[in-house]
Symmetry: C2
Subunit: 386 residues, 2 copies
């Protein structure tokens, strides 16, 4: 397999954009990305698009050639990948694999979602389609309820507290306030987070990520060709996608996501690194408890220690392992299909030293974790500066 | 790249199954396929699923791990591919590419759609999502209207007649009547076909494919390992996926699908064969005119000669180039996401000599063409017996 490099990135702002349609968001991200790498549409050999539920949110399907055509990309494979909230993580995994294997050279990978044109109850219903609609969803459990059960069990089993979860929210809002592309640039206090409106106890509105519109894109190529396009390529050191059962009741233990553990182990092995080597990470904080689980499942701390680790400030910009310097799904926003590739863009900005106010001092090795549903899909990527 | 073999196939019947849910159909096809190849779920290294609109038809998304988990397949990449009516053709393309490139060995590829739980107007609306909803669909053009425009132009430009289109329907019903797994096993006469209820003139109900439920699956592996699993492997000799603009008004000429022409040329080149070498084919007859276009675009006849070729009986079981011996989308049924992999299963049955009443005498080299929307995605596959 050939080493693969990221040679360009492009993102729209994440937010609520009533005047923008889905296609225009994806085209903006894609064109920014091509410009970043000085690549023309005719050089793109394949278009891999992550999108969770465009047909349900805006009625448009067949999105890959629809968006690619608007950028002048035709005559190449254009495919949409769907794996719930890990849709563009999955697109990225398949695209990287195709370049590594020598199937393609220059591939544009993107993610997009346009959610805010629907009411919140309708969005919740569409998102619930990523759970088991014949089981848990029919019983009334939407995603906040599923993650509330996970949180309750984690609290019971490991003594995790509401303050520890709130610390994740406070930290992610603090980071997002410094990110000019974030959806909600608002600092919140621990007191506010704890007094948030209950959504599904113990989760308050401050434990839940945002409903957003947005798109992100990255351009990849064989590392050996990277210098043709950019002076600052980033290397994909390890990547893995794996799966588990969809329904919570099929899992032996709901305080750990088996798929995240397995994808992490594979990605570490491929990269030849250990969790201790990772300097910073973008983790899938669809709910605050999910960031705590990921911190544990990826081996950054032992099981049960994710909450105290967050409360102690270890994952802040100034801590030993900054997590979600972008603001995460909580503050940057969570346009579902765009999230996986958006994480990659955020990591690349740090690796390049382009993260502005959020820039870290140590920025040469990092990790992204993208989650689908309540853990049925996981994609873990490890990136390194060159 | 390594040669790739099909080592197992499995299909449900296609039809209207009010008592079956989407997952049970996909599981039935997958389990039949694994049994056909004597492979256990734990041997499957990846699950590639084609599905067009499960979330819109039945509310369930995140389908790949949802279905895989029900078959006992976890801990591996499980991904849904969407490319309109070419969704499972696209899944097959990506899966074959991954095995050819050495990324995977044993991969299960499937397609599924459950359509009949919705009313016909609702199905038509969901299908329209594969067109340009901001343009042609907003103007009122659903797929029968789009293909009616294509038919009208083909009639104007090449003198194609309603009798020639009806000949496609009569032939496909004749073949489907011999297929125990077909949705509508009913012989129709030319007179009936011509007097069918108008849907979008010049197309009558007999020019349109069926709204069906169904699933299909194939198992692939490197050719060098095929003998471990089966005594009668089939070789994937050539395969290509390509794209074009979604909207009809963006195409220079609507009597030809550029993506089909390009995918065909790539697949022929990869296989080292010409159209003359192909003994039989499964072509994407979502409408009768689409089969005529495909016959021309794939080089079996010159442009404009597809209609006379069909009317002369050349594509019947007894003709020089039997097309859609399964009955095609017209009679076998068109559960959109299952169609691409379903075509592959039908070809493998012929190659193995297992096609019963429809069995052809010459059955060593054949082609499948799977179309997305009004030509924005095309997948062409060439298979050979060993």
């Amino acid at each position: 397999m050939r080493p693969v490099a990221i040679i360009g990135i492009g993102k729209t702002n994440f937010g609520a954009f009533p005047d923008r349609d889905l296609r225009s968001l994806a085209v903006e991200a894609g064109e920014k990305c091509l410009a970043d790498a000085h690549v023309s549409p005719s050089q793109v050999e394949a278009y891999y698009l992550g999108n969770f539920a465009g047909p349900s949110f805006v009625g448009q399907n067949h999105l890959a050639p629809y968006i690619a055509g608007a950028m002048g990309i035709t005559g190449v494979p254009c495919t949409r990948f769907e794996a719930a909230c890990a849709s563009s993580g999955s697109a990225f995994y398949h695209a990287v694999s195709s370049v590594a294997a020598g199937l393609n050279d220059v591939v544009l990978v993107a993610g997009v979602e346009k959610m805010t044109s629907q009411t919140t109850p309708k969005v919740t219903e569409i998102l619930a389609g990523a759970g088991d609609t014949c089981g848990e969803v029919r019983a009334g459990a939407t995603f906040p309820a599923l993650f509330a059960m996970i949180a309750r069990r984690h609290m019971y089993q490991y003594g995790t507290t509401r303050e520890q979860m709130a610390a994740v929210a406070v930290k992610n809002h603090e980071n997002g306030a410094k990110n000019p592309q974030a959806h909600m640039r608002k600092i919140i206090t621990m007191e506010q987070a704890l007094k948030g409106k209950p959504i599904s106890e113990p989760l308050t509105v401050y434990d839940c990520s945002l409903i957003s519109d947005g798109a992100a894109a990255v351009l990849i190529a064989p590392l050996e060709r990277a210098a043709e396009f950019t002076g600052r390529p980033v290397k994909v050191m390890g990547i893995a996608q794996t799966s588990d059962y969809v329904a919570l009741d099929q899992k032996d233990d709901i305080t750990t996501f088996r798929a995240v553990v397995a994808a992490g182990q594979k990605a570490y092995k491929m990269a030849g690194v250990t969790p201790k080597d990772i300097q910073f990470a973008e983790l899938h904080d669809c709910f605050t408890i999910a960031e705590i689980l990921a911190t544990e499942d990826l081996g950054f701390v032992k099981k049960g220690e994710g909450g105290p680790y967050a409360l102690a400030g270890c994952t802040r910009l100034t801590g030993p392992l900054p997590i979600n310097t972008s603001g995460g799904l909580k503050s940057k926003g969570h346009p579902v299909g765009a999230t996986g590739v958006g994480q990659i863009c955020d990591l690349v900005m740090q690796l390049r030293g382009d993260a502005g106010e959020r820039q870290l001092a140590r920025h040469s090795l990092c990790l992204a974790q993208n989650l689908g549903g309540s853990g049925a899909t996981a994609v873990v990527t490890i990136l390194g500066a060159l």
